[in-house]
Every structure is written in structure tokens, then in C-alpha cells.
Amino acid sequence: MRWRRLIQGIAVAAVAMLFASACLSESGGGGGGGGDSEGGGGDKQIEIMYGFGGDQSKGFEQAMAAFEKSSGITIKFTDASQSFDTLIRPRVQGNNPPDIALFPQPGLMLDFAKQGKLQDLGGMVNLEQLKTTLVPGELDTGTLDGKTYGVPMSMNVKSLVWYPKKAFEAKGYKVPTTIAELEALTNQIKADGTTPWCVGIESAGATGWVGTDWIEEFVLRYGGPQKYDQWVKHEIPFTDPVVVQAGQEFDKLALADGQVFGGRKSVVSTNFGTSINPMFDDPPKCFLHRQGNFITQKGFMADKARANLDENVGVFQLPGVSATDKPVLGGGDLAGAFTNDDDVKKALEFMFTPDFKFPNMAASSYMSPHKTFDVSQYPDETTKKIAQGAYASTVFRFDGSDLMPGSVGAGSFWKGMTAWISGQRSLDETLKEIDESWPS
């Protein structure tokens, strides 16, 4: 009698356990996707993780909706725009990565590639063909030891200086073609009684990245592409004279007393996205602002300026040392794959086609990384001009801080710039600390 009851109990318990574990595995299976399957057929379901945010996220989802329809593959969109790098890391460490990730920072992507977590795209898409259409240099960004782990599916251009067109022309200012001319223009604006620059580097958890862009611009200009590449790979130290020179130039041009609206102290507490807007006041509070093409997005640039971009806003490429020297610093989102199956291949191929675009071109300020892209599709002359400039560039370099290891490029470099600009550290101390933080 006793035994029978016991066996009954165990049997019921076993059924209950099975029941519970069945539930769990069911809900787990949906999210897990293809897992580690190599080159399998796929299950018509993929997860894509990206960090666009706002209208860009919407644009991406719209673009991929067409793909879902034609291929029958369902895409799970994971918008990690709040903090892409801190959200994807635990997913990868926990062996639960998305199938495809669109990395805004290739440094993080290369970290994963080094750990062997990413698929070699060489066997998945036609790299040779991509090489012929992509802006030169874009493909090298996602390449490590001869293997390509990430291919850009969007582009942004950073070396841009914006100005309030009407007021700028009314004052008789001329677009500079060399750094020396830019300095002269800055002095002229200052002499006319206006602070020349608007600079803001506040960006919540990412505060400081705008400062790193400035340093990169000048390292690329003073050191040239080779020195720049060495610096990004830490083959020359962070304290190298060319980096010091870049910092000093940034300081002299746009941080020193009277050079920046609100003064040096307010640079660190002014949001990067809206910091351009005092130039659209009447009279303008500043005339120059260096920022990437994405600044024209809604929510960043003031609506009154965006209303007629071509008429209100002027833009020129940040000049080089000489008038013929026109390097371009840029960025983009690199698509990398954690899974290798037919579904993922199809999705990647779709994103890498040279005429891929976000349907809401104006709202998302999408720019194609393919130089063969039909520029007449850009919503305004300003964007067209920026894109053409980048497509025609001979020296195109990816944002250096995005290429450095995460702990530098998204850590000590950001924090160092913030501490230096706010006056908590000297330039030399800052560069020394960043150099020491480089992982060995």
C-alpha cells in the first residue's frame, strides 16, 4: 500500500516536471533561432539586432518588410538603440546572440570576431563584387587577419562643418579650403563679436564621443592615413606627437576662451544633437558646427532650419592641411552574422545590394555606402552633396574610436575627452591615461 502510493506520487511528479520543462523549452526555442547550425537551411526565422533608434529604426524595419514579403522569412527586430554595446555583450556571452547584428561600432564587432563568435562572411556573400561598389576603405573596416566579419549597410559622413547659410553669406564669410583658412575664418567671426563654434559632447552614457571625432579628424589630417591607421591599431602610442598636435588644434580652434558658445565648461553639458541650434537664432550665436550628416535628423537640428535645408543650412567638408588634401572621416553600421544558414545569407545579400535604402530617406537621413548608389534618390541637395563628396573621396577612414577595442574606443577615450574638455585633466595626462588603458 505504502509503495503504491509512493510510486503514484513519483509518477505524478515526473509528469508535472515534464510539463513544466516542456513549457520552458517551447518559449526558449522561439527566441533562440538557428543556434550553431552551420550552413543549414534555416527555419524561416531570423533575429536582427541594431542600434539605430527613432526614424532610422522605422526606416530599417520598412526596408526589411519588403524582404520578409519576398522571401517568406520572418524577422524578429531587436532595437537596441538605448545602448547597443551594453545590450549585445551579455547576449553574446550568454550564448544567445541574434542571428545578425548591425554594429554601429566595429571595435566591438572585432572583439567578437577575435573571440571567434562571428561568422566569416567570405563564404556567405560575394565580397569581390561588394569591393567594386563600396566606398574604398569601407570593407577593410570589418576585416581581421584577412577574413571579413562585417560589411557596411549604411554610411555616415563625419567631416562636415555646418553653417547658417543666410547669415554666413550676409556677413561675407568664405568657405575655407585649408585648416589655416579655417583658423582665419574663426578669428574673423570672433573679431565680429560672435563666438565662432557651437560644440556639445553630452550624450548620456556615451558622453565624450564627439570629442573623439575631433581628435580623429586632426590626426587624419596632420598624420595622414598611414599614421592614422597605426594610431587606431595602437602601433604608435596615444601620446604620439601627432595626437598631441590634434588635441592642441581642437583646443585652439574650438575650445579656448571666446571660441565656443557658452564657454568650454558648457561643452560637456550641452547635448550633441541640439548643440548646433544656437546658430539658427537671430542673430546667430555661433557660425560653425562640426558634426556628421545625421545631425539633420528630426529632434536634432531645429525644425525651422530643417524646413528648408538647402536654403537655411550650408555645409562644407572640414578642410585639410592643403587645399588638395580632402580626407573624409565617416562611419556606418556593419552587418555581422552569428549564424550561418540560408535565411541569414539571404537577409545579408538583401542588405548589401547596392540600391538598398531605407524608404523614409528624408526622416532617417539614410546614406548608402555604395558609390554606385543613385544620388538623385537623396531627398535634398545638401545630402546629395555630402554623399557625392564621400563617394569621390580617395582617403576615406572609418571613425577611429569605433575601431579601437571597446574599453578604449567606447570607454577611456570617451571619458578622457570629457575629463579633458571639462578641465579635470590636462591633455598630456588624458592621453597618457588612455594609452595605459589599452588592453595588452
Binding site: G9, A13, C23, E26, G262, G263, V268, P278
Partner: protein
């Protein structure tokens, strides 16, 4: 919908399975001889909970200590390098200094303010007391991130000439001064104090509620006796009331202290540790999730654990002494 059903099924199944597990274990033990049954039975019931604590608390803690001696990706041993690197870096020294400052200031101020409000509100009419206490209690209901966002707006600074949307700067500029980017002013750790204000603002309500209950529990005859003996109000407060509520004061102090040691959200949202305001939990987050450095992050946690142990030990002893006195 399927998810909801699935979740419900999982809950029912899980709870049922747990019940059955205990039932079956109990039956098994009952089959043993009387002597062994009595010996083993308590362990059967406590054992499951112990196993859960072991799995979810002790095992990770031990792993963390072990990994603090390994490199960023936990693939090779580096000895004490994580500790020496951290302790010799100026950045981390500032972080530690700030954490100590938080420990020194926040619990003491929270208790003092809470006690002051509790005592003073006690003297108001019932309606006034209710109103004051509700108002002071309210911030406790706001999440840390919410509170930080609210206070970011209070401290918000715009360059001179732009309209100031931050409350503090609006007042400040109305008085004729130039706007100040408050959170970047690190002279004498001023910005750290501004961040502490937010935590204190949130925690005073908690401190007030507990202390108010304790103050109300002080027997009136002891106060009257002191009054008859000619003691003034200050003497009554410090020599009669406070000693009688000392146990509650310690409890509140330690609870707030532990909150401070774990404080993360306020600093993360408001400055992310920039401008020399970093504290240990934010630093840990950045090392682990931004820099992906398992070793250093583990080393920071171990240091934090070491710092918490004496506090917890004191609390346990204090608790035991109180129990014994009862």
C-alpha cells in the same frame, strides 16, 4: 495570449512540482527508522532552500572571487594584477574616495533628517502631520532612474544667453549670476554632493516612517517624568527619546548604508561617472558591460563584498543583541 497561458501553466506546473517534491521527499524520509527520520527531516525541508541559496548566491560569489584573478575574458590567470591595476589607477582611487564620501554622508544625513521630520511632525496637528509625512514619503515611490531624470532637469545648464530650462539655473540666473553646469563642478566634490542630494531626497521618507513609528512608541510617562524632573526639550530629546529608539536608528542607518554601497542608477543616469563623480557600482557596470573586462569587474565586486561584510556582521550582531534583550 499563448505566452500568458504558457506562463500560467509554468507557474501552476512549477508550484505543483515543488509541492510534489516536498511531498515525495517527506514520504521517503518517513519510510526511514524513527531515529533517522527525526534527524534527517529538518534537512529535507531546509535543504532545498539551502541548495537554492548555494546555487544562486554562494556559487556565483565563489566564481566571482575566482574570476577576479583571471584576465578580461577569463581565459588565463593574472594573479593580483586586476587589484593592483585598479588600486594604482588614479581614476579608481577617485572612485573609491567618492564611495567613501557617500558612505560618510548619505546614511548620517538621511537618519538625521528623517529623525528631525519624525519628531517635528509629531508635534503638528493630525492633519498637518499626515500632509507633511505624505509629501516627504512621496519620493520613495519614484524609481531611481525616474528620480535621476527629474534631478537632471533641475541641474540642467544651458549656455548663457539661451533660455535656462533647469530649475536651479533659472533661479541662479534670475539672481543675476551666469549659468553654471552644476554637475561638472568638482571643486570639493561639489557635484558628488549634488548627486547625494537625490539619494537623500529619495531615502528620507523611508527613514522618517520607521523613526516616526519608533518616536511614537516611546512611552509618554518617561517623557513626563523627565519634564517633572526639570529637563528641557533638548535634554528630553537626546537623553530620553533617542536612547529608547536607538535600535531603530541603527537599523535605518545600516539599511541606507547598504543602499548607498549598491547605489548605481542615480550616478549612471546623471553623469555616468564623468566629472570625478564615479562610484564603485557604476565603475563595475562600465568595466563589465562597456569594457567587457570580466577580471576587473569581478575584482571590483570582491572589494565591494569585503566592504559590505563588516556592516552586515555588525547588523547581525546588533539584531541578535536586541533579540536577547527582549
Amino acid at each position: 495570449m499563448i505566452r500568458v497561458i504558457n506562463a500560467l501553466l509554468a507557474i501552476i506546473g512549477g508550484v505543483g512540482a515543488a509541492l510534489l517534491l516536498y511531498y515525495v521527499l517527506n514520504k521517503l524520509v518517513e519510510m526511514l527508522p524513527q531515529k533517522w527520520e527525526e534527524r534527517i527531516k529538518p534537512w529535507v525541508f531546509a535543504g532545498v532552500a539551502l541548495a537554492a541559496i548555494g546555487l544562486f548566491l554562494i556559487y556565483p560569489a565563489v566564481r566571482t572571487i575566482i574570476l577576479s584573478f583571471a584576465n578580461a575574458t577569463s581565459t588565463a590567470w593574472v594573479g593580483l594584477e586586476n587589484y593592483t591595476d585598479l588600486l594604482t589607477s588614479r581614476d579608481f582611487q577617485i572612485t573609491l574616495g567618492n564611495t567613501l564620501l557617500w558612505i560618510a554622508v548619505v546614511p548620517a544625513v538621511t537618519v538625521a533628517l528623517g529623525l528631525a521630520v519624525a519628531t517635528l511632525a509629531d508635534r503638528l496637528g493630525p492633519r498637518g502631520e499626515k500632509l507633511t509625512k505624505s509629501a516627504i514619503f512621496l519620493p520613495l515611490a519614484i524609481s531611481g532612474v525616474g528620480a535621476a531624470t527629474i534631478w537632471r532637469f533641475i541641474y540642467e545648464a544651458r549656455p548663457a544667453g539661451e533660455p535656462q530650462i533647469g530649475l536651479l539655473n533659472a533661479v541662479w540666473t534670475a539672481l543675476g549670476f551666469d549659468p553654471v553646469a552644476w554637475l561638472t563642478v568638482d571643486t570639493l566634490r561639489f557635484n558628488s554632493f549634488l548627486l547625494m542630494v537625490v539619494v537623500i531626497w529619495g531615502q528620507v521618507g523611508f527613514s522618517m516612517v520607521l523613526l516616526s513609528a519608533a518616536v511614537k512608541g516611546v512611552p509618554v510617562d518617561t517623557l513626563e517624568a523627565a519634564r517633572i524632573d526639570g529637563a528641557n526639550e533638548r535634554q528630553i530629546f537626546f537623553k530620553v527619546t533617542v536612547p529608547q529608539i536607538w535600535g531603530t536608528v541603527i537599523t535605518v542607518f545600516i539599511t541606507v548604508l547598504i543602499t548607498v554601497l549598491k547605489a548605481f542608477d542615480i550616478v549612471f543616469v546623471m553623469t555616468n561617472g564623468n566629472f570625478n563623480t564615479d562610484i564603485i557600482a557604476v565603475r563595475f557596470f562600465n568595466e563589465l558591460f562597456r569594457n567587457g573586462d570580466n577580471g576587473r569587474a569581478a575584482a571590483i565586486v570582491v572589494m565591494l563584498m569585503l566592504a559590505v561584510i563588516p556592516v552586515v556582521a555588525y547588523q547581525v550582531r546588533h539584531f541578535r543583541a536586541e533579540e536577547a534583550a527582549r
